[in-house]
C-alpha cells in the first residue's frame, strides 16, 4: 500500500479530523487507490516547466498586467461589521469569541 495507517492518522491530525477506526480503514483504502492513479503524473517529463498556480488574466497584454488594474487603492474604509459577525458565533462576548482552554494538548 502507498499509504500506511500511521500516515492516515498523521494526515487526520494535521487536518484536525477525529476519524473513527472504520473511517481510518476506509480512507486508507480509498486514498491508496486514488494516489496510485495519480502516480501517472510521474510519466510526464516536467523539467523546466514553470508551475502554474493561477490563471494569468493579462498574459497577452503584459503592459496591462504591469499596471495592476485589479488592485484598489490601499485606503482605510469604515467597516462596521463586528456585531453582525459576532452574532453568528456560538459563544461570543463582544469584542471576543470565547473558546475552550488552549494551554493543554
Amino acid at each position: 500500500m502507498k499509504i500506511s495507517r500511521e500516515e492516515v492518522l498523521r494526515v487526520a491530525e494535521l487536518a484536525h479530523l477525529e476519524l473513527s477506526p472504520e473511517e481510518i480503514d476506509t480512507y486508507r483504502g480509498q486514498l491508496d487507490e486514488i494516489l496510485s492513479y495519480i502516480d501517472k503524473l510521474k510519466e510526464l517529463e516536467v523539467t523546466g516547466v514553470e508551475p502554474m498556480a493561477q490563471v494569468n488574466f493579462h498574459s497577452d497584454a503584459p503592459q496591462v498586467a504591469e499596471s495592476h488594474p485589479e488592485l484598489r487603492e490601499d485606503v482605510l474604509r469604515r467597516c462596521d461589521v463586528a456585531d453582525a459577525v459576532l452574532a453568528r458565533a456560538t459563544d461570543a462576548e463582544k469584542p471576543f469569541f470565547r473558546v475552550p482552554k488552549v494551554i493543554e494538548r
Binding site: 494535521l14 480512507y27 487507490e33 486514488i34 510521474k42 516536467v46 514553470e50 488594474p69 484598489r72
Partner: protein
C-alpha cells in the same frame, strides 16, 4: 394569471411591459410550481419568498411608473447554496453550516437584483461543491427532472434541475471541475462556465480558489447571454476578478457562425466514451460544419493527465480553504475539552465523507515530504494542459468535445467508488485547469431519452464567440439533434 409554462428572459420582460402579468404574479406562479414538484426533486433547500416579493413589488412599481425595465426585470432566478445571500440561510449542502445566515450578499446576487431579477431561493448541491452527482449533499440527493431515478449531475445539481423542471427561469451555479457543465449536460439545458476572473466571486464560499467560477444555467442561449452580461465584470471586492472589458453578449450571439474554425481534439473521443454520446456529439459537430464552420482536427496530448492534476490541486486548495470551519466564529460548534478537541469534534461531525476524503487527500499532497511529488508536479502538469489550450487557440476559435463520457447515471450507481466518480470528470477538468470559458449545450438524447451535452471551449474572455457558436447551434436545431 398567465397560462404560459415555459418562460424566457425576453418573454418575462415583454409580459411585464405589456402588463400581461405582474412580477408578483409571476413569482407566485413559480412558488406554486415549486410547491408541487420540489418535494420529489429536492432541488431547492431554502425558499426566500419575502425577499422575492419585495423585489417583485419594486419591479411592478417601475412598470406602473412606465420606467425602462432592466435586462432581468422580474425574472425568477435560483442561486446555488454556496453563494452568500443576506438573511437567507446558506448551507453549502453541509451540516457544518446548517444554520448559517450570511451577513452580506455575494456580488453576483447583488448584480442580479440590480438587473431586476427575483431570487426565489437557494438550491441543493454537493457539500461544498465537491461531487459530480449531487449525492454528497447533507440534505439528500437531487433527482434529475428528466428521469427521476437518475442523478442531475453535480455539484450544481439543484441549480440545473430547477431550470430543467421549470422551477426557475435561470439559476446560478458554480464550476470548479465541471460542476455547471456536467449537470447542464445531464439535465438537457445550457450551462456556462465563464473564464476564470470574468465573474466576481466575492461572497462565494471557497472550495478551490484557483479554479472556482460562478456561471448561469438557462433554458436557451439568449438567456445565457443576458444573465452573463448582468453578472460579469470587475469587482473592487474581488482582486481575482479581471479588469477586462465585458463584451455585449446579446449582440455577439446575433453574429453568424459561418467561417468560425472549430477544433475537434481526437483525445476526447477515445476509450470510455459512451457510443451514443459519441454519435450525437459527432452529429452536432457535423451540423456546425453544415453552417459553414471549418472543422480542424486537434491534438491535446496532456488531456489524459488532467484528472490526476486536478484532484491534487483542487483538494490541496480545499484542505486550506476548509480549515476555517473550526467552530469558533460561525457554523456548527461541538464542545470539546480543549480548543484542538473542539476543532476535531466539530469537523468530524460537521463534514460529510467526500469532504473529509478531499481534505485528507489535499493535506497529504501538501504535507512535508510529498509536496514536490504531488502538488508541485500537478501545477507543472497544469501548465502543460494550459499550453495545449493556448496552442489550440492559435489555430481555432473554439474547441468541441463531449461534456461527459456518459448520460446521467442512476442514483447510487457510482457513489461507493470515489475514483470512478472522479474519472467521469475527464472532459471538463481540462478547461477548468486552463481557466478558459466553456459551455455545455444540449445535443439530442439517447435512445432511452437521456440528454447528451456537447461542450464548447473558447479562448480566455471570449465568451462572446462561445455563445455565438452555441446560439447558431441552437437556431439550427442542434439541441434536439
Amino acid at each position: 394569471m398567465s397560462a404560459q409554462t415555459s418562460w424566457t428572459v425576453a418573454g418575462v420582460r415583454e409580459a411585464l411591459a405589456s402588463k400581461k402579468v405582474s412580477a408578483k404574479e409571476l413569482a407566485s406562479e413559480f412558488y406554486v410550481r415549486i410547491e408541487k414538484r420540489n418535494p420529489e426533486l429536492n432541488a431547492y433547500l431554502t425558499l426566500s419568498p419575502e425577499r422575492a416579493y419585495e423585489q417583485a413589488a419594486r419591479i411592478d412599481a417601475a412598470v406602473s411608473r412606465g420606467e425602462a425595465l432592466p435586462v432581468l426585470a422580474g425574472v425568477p432566478i435560483a442561486v446555488k447554496d454556496v453563494i452568500s445571500t443576506t438573511g437567507i440561510r446558506t448551507t453549502c449542502g453541509s451540516k457544518i453550516l446548517e444554520n448559517y445566515v450570511p451577513p452580506y450578499d455575494a456580488t453576483t446576487v447583488e448584480r442580479l437584483e440590480r438587473a431586476g431579477a427575483v431570487i426565489l431561493g437557494k438550491t441543493n448541491c454537493d457539500e461544498f461543491a465537491m461531487g459530480s452527482s449531487n449525492e454528497n449533499s447533507a440534505y439528500g440527493p437531487v433527482r434529475n427532472p428528466v428521469a427521476t431515478d437518475r442523478v442531475p449531475g453535480g455539484s450544481s445539481g439543484g441549480s440545473a434541475a430547477v431550470v430543467a423542471a421549470g422551477l426557475a427561469v435561470a439559476s446560478l451555479g458554480t464550476d470548479t471541475g465541471g460542476s455547471i457543465r456536467q449537470p447542464g449536460s445531464f439535465c438537457g439545458i445550457p450551462g456556462l462556465m465563464p473564464t476564470y476572473g470574468r465573474v466576481s466571486r466575492y461572497g462565494l464560499v471557497a472550495f478551490a480558489s484557483s479554479l472556482d467560477k460562478i456561471g448561469p444555467f438557462t433554458g436557451n442561449i439568449a438567456d445565457t447571454a443576458a444573465v452573463l452580461g448582468a453578472i460579469a465584470g470587475h469587482d473592487p471586492n474581488d482582486s481575482t476578478s479581471a479588469a477586462v472589458p465585458v463584451e455585449n453578449y446579446l449582440a455577439e450571439i446575433e453574429k453568424p457562425a459561418k467561417g468560425m474554425r472549430i477544433g475537434v481534439p481526437e483525445d476526447y473521443f477515445g476509450e470510455g466514451l459512451d457510443p451514443e454520446v459519441k454519435e450525437k456529439v459527432q452529429a452536432g459537430i457535423a451540423l456546425l460544419e453544415s453552417l459553414g464552420c471549418q472543422r480542424i482536427p486537434l491534438q491535446m496530448p496532456h488531456t489524459d493527465y488532467a484528472i490526476a492534476a486536478y484532484y491534487i490541486i483542487a483538494t490541496a486548495e480545499a484542505s486550506s480553504n476548509l480549515a476555517r470551519y473550526d467552530g469558533v466564529r460561525y457554523g456548527l460548534r461541538v464542545p470539546g475539552s480543549t480548543l484542538i478537541d473542539m476543532y476535531r469534534k466539530t469537523r468530524e461531525r460537521g463534514f460529510g465523507p467526500e469532504v473529509k476524503r478531499r481534505i485528507m487527500l489535499g493535506t497529504y499532497a501538501l504535507s512535508s515530504g510529498y509536496y514536490d511529488a504531488y502538488y508541485l508536479r500537478a501545477q507543472k502538469v497544469r501548465a502543460l494542459i494550459a499550453r495545449d489550450f493556448s496552442d489550440a487557440f492559435q489555430k481555432v476559435d473554439a474547441i468541441l468535445t463531449p461534456t461527459a463520457p456518459t448520460p446521467a447515471f442512476r442514483i447510487g450507481e457510482k457513489s461507493s467508488d470515489p475514483l470512478q466518480m472522479y474519472l467521469a470528470d475527464i472532459y471538463t477538468v481540462t478547461g477548468s485547469l486552463a481557466g478558459v470559458p466553456g459551455i455545455s449545450v444540449p445535443c439530442g438524447k439517447t435512445k432511452a431519452g437521456l440528454p447528451v451535452g456537447m461542450q464548447i471551449f473558447g479562448p480566455h474572455f471570449r465568451e462572446g464567440s462561445v455563445l455565438r457558436l452555441a446560439r447558431a447551434f441552437e437556431n439550427a436545431g442542434g439541441f434536439t439533434i
